[in-house]
Symmetry: C2
């Protein structure tokens, strides 16, 4: 938790009860949640919190690398704790329970070289979405 608060400071974001509560919900809950899920859990502790604030905080925490944003099957926002903030990685999402595993293995370089050679292009970024069934849902 300390490192999250330090991360906030490093990024000129003030440490407020709302922000702490959002982080805490992810730390103690662990899973993948949408803004409304988070809002529901927050309401119990901070009854005056508003949904727009939740959206804003989630987006900020994503920007500074505390959360990972993803898009669920129903096209809505989902967030989960990012455990590998500084390492290039991708995410494996379970199709049944929506759990996310972070995958630090990436052999994209080969594809990148292939593209740059074949199309004489410059590859600047890549995103990989991997789906399947986790060990429990399998």
């Amino acid at each position: 938790m300390e490192s999250y608060l330090q991360n906030l400071k490093d990024n000129c974001l003030k440490i407020t009860p709302r922000r702490k509560a959002v982080i805490d919900i992810f730390v103690s809950n662990g899973s993948r949640m949408g803004p409304y899920d988070v809002y529901g859990k927050l309401k119990k502790r901070l009854s005056t919190i508003g949904l727009p604030t939740v959206y804003r905080i989630l987006s900020e925490l994503k920007d500074i690398g505390i959360l990972v944003q993803s898009i669920s099957e129903d096209r809505q926002l989902r967030y989960s704790l990012c455990t590998l903030p500084d390492v290039h990685h991708h995410h494996f999402t379970c199709r049944k329970c929506s759990k996310i595993e972070e995958v630090e293995f990436c052999n994209f370089k080969g594809v990148s070289r292939f593209i740059e050679k074949k199309f004489n292009a410059k590859v600047e970024a890549h995103q990989v979405q991997i789906e399947g069934l986790c060990s429990e849902c399998k």
Copy 2:
């Protein structure tokens, strides 16, 4: 094109100018398009077409397997032709001119094995979005 029309018939969907035009746009254009892109292209030929109709047709064509639906980074719907002998491939998109190149090279197997081993999971699908600058925009 004939097989697409047969597919419509097989699924009790009538062959209408709108549906033919939508399929034709994907066949002659090849790439990944959102409802509004398709609408724009249709407007030129069928000036009275409405956006809801485009949404409906795209959804129907997805249901019968002519199109593949996906969700783009900006959380909007995207469709592309489902090439029947399903040649696995990805897309490289130019950040400047939006041109799309199809990339048939994929070394994802390694990643897949890594995930299945490490998390004891079953990998079922993956999507890769590659961005950069094409030869002309570079």
